[in-house]
């Protein structure tokens, strides 16, 4: 369905002295039809860039992206335009995803007009149907974006994307600006809609705990690379990469008895002094409590650690296996 093969992105900046930053360094994964891949990592790890490359808002520097066997990266603009409705993206900040001078009704009618899917009265019917699909009231159609709450706007964003009956949706942190209770509503809705319309989804998040509910598989990214990838149960059942474990340990559980056992201190701070590009080796070495000589010399490949589970770490075999239980309470390191 969606296959990403070794995509890379190098941004260059500066007029006199060109500087280049490798934001995504050889990311590969595949997502089967109707399934969800959770792409998890801290801000700046390149997860959003990967998302934008999939919908081709950013051109990859290298690599291939295949959608239903069609190579998106080589498609000519006319054919790409035809395919675009099928591949949609939902952005993080709903406040900025809408034209503030348009009523919700106009924003929702736009995709129909642009793609000549409906006309006149028919557009109104379709828009009415959409607004109800995402659990809003027809009266919301006559409002402006600023009159809706973040959660309601994100529902509208979902509706606008659904208008085109997409086969693939990239959801880029769709709930990170929302309250916990509203987040639950929006994510439940997204899952429900996926069951109903059978689209494939790439769910981008910095929170493993949220990604768990949404994803069949999870890929953990760190500094432009996938460091661990596998089935959701497998990632939570036996996380192997020290970074994945740190992310799991960072989950603050709503349970006062468990609350005071945070142990993320064992993760070293990023030291800006270490120039990783020059240093070579594993990109996690400066923060990893288990880094050894080999980690500073050789970059670990993404290797199979268990059936259907890959990890990029030289030392994963030496680390004590841990179990992250369902409530996310982790005892580790």
């Amino acid at each position: 369905m969606l296959e990403v093969v070794g995509i890379e992105k190098v941004f260059t900046s500066g007029i006199f002295r060109r500087r280049s930053i490798e934001v995504v360094r050889g990311v590969s994964f595949r997502v089967n039809k109707g399934q969800t891949l959770g792409l998890v990592g801290e801000s700046g790890c390149g997860k959003t860039t990967v998302g934008k490359m999939i919908v081709r808002l950013i051109e990859p520097t290298a690599g291939r992206i295949l959608f239903n066997g069609i190579e998106l990266t080589r498609l000519d603009p006319r054919k790409l335009r035809k395919l675009r409705p099928k591949i949609q993206i939902i952005f993080q900040d709903p406040d900025m995803a809408f034209n503030p001078r348009w009523k919700i009704r106009d924003s929702l009618g736009e995709p129909f007009k642009l793609n000549r899917l409906a006309r006149g009265r028919e557009i109104i019917d379709r828009v009415l149907e959409l607004i109800e699909t995402v659990g809003l009231h027809p009266e919301h159609l006559n409002r402006y974006p600023f009159e809706l709450s973040g959660g309601q706007l994100q529902r509208v964003a979902l509706a606008r994307v659904l208008a085109l009956q997409p086969e693939l949706i990239v959801a880029d942190e769709p709930t990170s600006s929302l309250d916990v209770s509203v987040q639950a509503q929006v994510l439940t809705l997204l899952k429900e809609l996926q069951r109903r319309f059978q689209f494939t989804c790439v769910f981008i998040s910095h929170d493993l705990n949220v990604a768990r509910w949404m994803s069949d598989r999870i890929a953990v990214m760190y500094r432009g690379k996938i460091v661990e990838e596998g089935k959701t149960e497998s990632i939570f059942g036996s996380p192997r990469h020290p970074y994945t474990r740190a992310l799991l340990g960072a989950i603050l559980v709503p349970d006062p008895e468990a609350g005071r056992t945070w142990r993320v201190a064992s993760l070293n701070h990023v030291s800006p002094e270490v120039n990783l590009e020059k240093a070579g080796g594993c990109s996690f070495q400066d923060r990893c409590p288990h880094a050894e000589k080999i980690c500073r010399e050789k970059e670990p490949p993404l290797a199979v650690s268990a059936p259907d589970h890959r990890v990029a770490c030289h030392r994963f075999k030496d680390l004590v296996p841990v179990q992250a239980n369902v409530t996310g309470k982790v005892c580790f390191l």
């Binding site: 801000s43 209770s181 639950a184 603050l252 006062p256 609350g259």
Partner: protein
């Protein structure tokens, strides 16, 4: 008791009527205690923090009492209030990027507080600013950096450093972990713990948050706010173990660690609150009475109260 708030009301006048941001709030905060104020965006949490520090715009109609060490802050002349702010009570604002001055280095912003409130000389203030940065985990050599040069977590640390500058007895932290990565959130939680429980004598804090995970990790007592009212309060462990208000329960269930169970409906607009209990249109347990009569707070145990007929 360090802080005692009695029937605090904050109304804003708007074209469509009064926005009741706080509608009869009672709260108590003891010395050395961390009190969590949890609730959704728009439930009036931030307004409460601003009312305590008297930083609300002039258009706000405020009534009730905010007793700090027995002194009613709401009745204090502005000159006196300035002395309380910073030295006694200080607020760490939400969203450091818009709260910090982009044109001044973080060192200058901390030093400014020290010069204003503590009358420190230029050099002494600068040196103390460096110490405060170190205390909050920012290397002192970054003292000349500007907010845009710092990461989100570092900016939050700088905000905390400013809040601590005059060693206040009460810290009000408004959503200090919002918008941060999970790994950074934990570090900020640890830092807040260190600067409150970790000092002697322990410092009090009013922690405003929507994240129950953060509240569980830090607070001693909890007050849950919905549509301008406190709907449940109690010791944190007790409220988590035995949540009695349906809204508290819904809030807990919606946390990703507890299964991400959504509650139907939206939080009401503060202009047009539903009659009776504000939560009744979304409540699973609601009966006829809930739609007509506003419930009062019932005490259901030692220091545990709930605003619900059927708790």
């Amino acid at each position: 008791m360090l802080l005692k708030i009695t029937s605090l009301r904050v109304y804003f006048k708007s074209a469509d009527g009064f926005v009741k941001a706080a509608d009869g709030v009672d709260l108590e905060l003891y010395p050395g205690e961390i009190l969590g104020l949890v609730g959704e965006t728009g439930s009036g949490k931030t307004v409460l923090g601003l009312a305590i520090t008297r930083l609300l715009p002039k258009t706000a109609a405020v009534s009730g009492e905010v007793l700090y060490r027995g002194q009613n802050l709401l009745a204090l002349p502005e000159e006196e209030m300035r002395k309380v702010r910073g030295r006694q009570v200080s607020m760490i604002f939400q969203n450091p990027l818009s709260s910090l001055n982009p044109a001044l280095s973080i060192g200058e912003q901390i030093a400014e507080v020290l010069r204003e409130h503590q009358g420190l000389k230029r050099k002494a203030a600068w040196q103390r600013a460096g110490e405060l940065l170190e205390l909050t985990g920012i290397p002192a050599k970054w003292i000349r950096s500007y907010p845009h040069e710092l990461s989100g977590g570092m900016r939050q640390r700088a905000m905390i450093a400013i809040g601590l500058a005059c060693a206040p007895s009460l810290l009000i932290a408004d959503e200090p972990t919002r918008g941060l990565d999970v790994t950074i959130q934990v570090q900020i939680v640890e830092l807040l713990h260190a600067v409150t429980k970790g000092v002697s004598p322990p410092r009090s804090m009013l922690l405003i948050t929507h994240d129950l995970g953060v509240a569980a990790a830090l607070t001693d007592r909890l007050a849950v706010m919905y549509a301008g009212k406190i709907v449940e309060y109690g010791r944190t462990a007790e409220v988590f173990r035995n949540p009695r208000h349906p809204y508290t329960r819904a809030l807990l269930d919606s946390h990703p660690s507890n299964g991400l169970i959504a509650t139907r409906g939206f939080s009401p607009s503060l202009i047009n609150l539903p009659p009776g209990c504000s939560f009744h249109p979304r409540c699973k347990k609601a009966r006829k009475k809930c739609a007509h009569e506003p419930p009062l707070v019932q005490r259901i145990g030692m220091d545990h109260g709930v605003r619900c007929f059927y708790a």
